[in-house]
Structures are given as structure tokens and as C-alpha cells.
């Protein structure tokens, strides 16, 4: 049998699950506005030693057979808001917005036309696009779903190059090396990363050039 110990075997997102206190609006947003099909749902009676409420677990297809899923618990009151956040994560009003927004779901589309189609659907709904941002390499639209979860739809303006995969790996190795130092900073990371570039970049380039000459072509790190 083939050795699996070093293989990358996973196949994307089976489902990412979130609680909702407004399932009707959640269905309007994902199914009716965005057009994500309902692909699965479970109606479950509460069970077990705890006083578990009855619940519905329901799933929408987000493309590529990946799914976003929700739990609706009958009779469970929504926790009171502290000021910022969503129906699950509560933050006081002084929490910086960049931190609150840092957790979000980004869904991929293949083209500008497809991105703008989702913009059109959202703008005609109760949840219009709040931001459309184009960096040099990506373009994204953002809104919040009825539960306060931030949803991004994004497209790449060019494919990721092999050297960006190398660079990402050097960044992460440098980060792991320095992050436990007291007061670790970006300066520490960039200094450590320069050492890793000196150690590895030339050999990586030679390996890529050998791969270009081979029938398989260059591969990502």
C-alpha cells in the first residue's frame, strides 16, 4: 500500500459551522440573495445528560462542494451584545475594528465578472456590499451576514507564483524562530528571514531551473 505519511491528503473545507439566532434571515442571505443551494440539513431532538435544546443544522454549498453550515437551537436566547462582534463573538466597544474583522470567511470567484455579479446580488438586498477593495494582487467585496459574520468574496488578479510559496515558507519559519522572544517584532522577523533567504534562496532557484527543464515544469514549494 502507498505510504501516506508525507502526503497532503485533505480536500478543502467539508464545512465551517456557525450558530445563528435568525435562521430565516440566514436562509434569505445565503440561499435567496447569494444563490448558494441548501445541500443538507439535520433536524435533531436534544439529547444527552445536559439539557441540550432541539436544533436544526443546515448547510449551504459555497462552491467546489465546500459548505458553510449553521446551527439553530430552539428556545436558546441570544447572548446580549457587548457592543461589537457578531452573534457568537462578543467584544466591548473599545476593541479595534481591525481585530474584530480579522476573523472572516473569504469565498473565491474566478473573474471580475463573477465578483461583480455577487456585488449586484448583495447590493439589491438587505445586506449591500460595505467595501470593495482592489489591491495589486486581489480584489474583494465585503459585507456582514444577518448574524454579523463578515463575508468576503475575492478574486485573484494574477496566479500565485512559485517564489511566493517559497517566500511564505521562509516568513513562517522566521516567525516561528523569533516569536517567543520577549518583545518580538517585525524587525526581528525580517532579520531572521534575511538569514533564511541567504541559506536557501539560491538552492531553491537552482531546483526550479532543473524542474523547468523537466517535463513536469516548476512546482510550488
Amino acid at each position: 500500500m502507498k505510504d501516506l505519511s508525507k502526503q497532503h491528503l485533505v480536500r478543502g473545507v467539508d464545512h465551517a459551522a456557525f450558530p445563528t439566532f435568525d435562521p430565516a434571515a440566514t436562509v434569505r442571505f445565503y440561499r435567496d440573495v447569494l444563490g448558494f443551494p441548501v445541500v443538507h440539513s439535520i433536524c435533531a431532538a436534544g439529547w444527552g445528560p445536559e439539557n441540550h435544546p432541539d436544533f436544526i443544522h443546515f448547510f449551504f454549498d459555497i462552491g467546489n462542494d465546500d459548505r458553510i453550515a449553521f446551527f439553530y437551537y430552539f428556545g436558546l436566547p441570544q447572548p446580549p451584545s457587548l457592543g461589537k462582534g457578531d452573534v457568537y463573538a462578543r467584544f466591548d466597544p473599545n476593541t479595534p475594528d481591525f481585530f474584530v474583522r480579522s476573523r472572516h470567511l473569504a469565498i473565491h470567484v474566478d473573474s471580475e465578472r463573477h465578483l461583480l455579479e455577487y456585488r449586484r446580488r448583495l447590493d439589491a438586498s438587505e445586506w449591500p456590499v460595505e467595501m470593495q477593495i482592489q489591491h495589486e494582487t486581489i480584489e474583494s467585496i465585503y459585507t456582514h451576514d444577518p448574524n454579523g459574520y463578515m463575508v468576503e468574496i475575492t478574486r485573484a488578479l494574477r496566479p500565485v507564483t512559485p517564489q511566493e510559496d517559497l517566500d511564505a515558507n521562509l516568513t513562517i519559519d522566521a516567525l516561528v524562530d523569533i516569536v517567543d522572544r520577549p518583545g518580538a517584532s517585525l524587525d526581528d522577523l525580517l532579520t531572521r528571514k534575511a538569514e533564511l533567504i541567504v541559506e536557501r534562496a539560491a538552492a531553491w532557484q537552482e531546483q526550479q531551473e532543473r524542474l523547468v527543464e523537466s517535463p513536469e515544469g516548476p512546482v510550488h514549494a
Binding site: D187, L190, E195, Q205
Partner: protein
């Protein structure tokens, strides 16, 4: 000690290396897929000359050897000996 700034060679970053190299005290070489922008002394790169918008500008530095960033804003990136 030589100041070395490493910048990944991707399409958005080529102008950073090109603009840096206009300074006669700065040499631009290559190490694998990185530009190595080096100088014996303090140097700076003018953002507007690079044409970089902010997302790329503020993420163009891949590594620092023998130097530290003393200015990194919408106007310029400045490196000085550590």
C-alpha cells in the same frame, strides 16, 4: 557593514528594485528569486517613484541584513545601519 534589503521578485515589486537602483550608491543584485538591494550607507526608496500602492508598498520588504527600517510611510522606505 553592508546594508542589505531583500525584496521578492514578483511583478508588483520590480519597480521597488528599479527605483532603488537609480541611487548610485546602491547596487541591485539577485539571490535566487530575491532582489538584493545593498549599499555601504543609509539609503531610501521614494514610494511615489515606484508607483506602488499601499498594500504592495507596505509588504515589499522580505528581509533585512545589517540594517534597520527607520522610515516606512507613504513617502519613503529608509534603511540605516543597525
Amino acid at each position: 557593514m553592508t546594508l542589505r534589503l531583500f525584496v521578492l521578485d514578483v511583478p508588483e515589486n520590480t519597480a521597488v528594485a528599479e527605483v532603488a537602483g537609480r541611487d548610485l550608491n546602491v547596487a541591485v543584485t539577485r539571490l535566487g528569486p530575491y532582489f538584493v538591494i545593498e549599499s555601504a550607507d543609509t539609503f531610501s526608496i521614494d514610494r511615489r517613484s515606484t508607483g506602488c500602492r499601499h498594500a504592495v508598498w507596505y509588504s515589499c520588504v522580505a528581509g533585512l541584513a545589517g540594517c534597520q527600517i527607520t522610515q516606512f510611510d507613504k513617502d519613503a522606505l529608509r534603511l540605516e545601519a543597525r
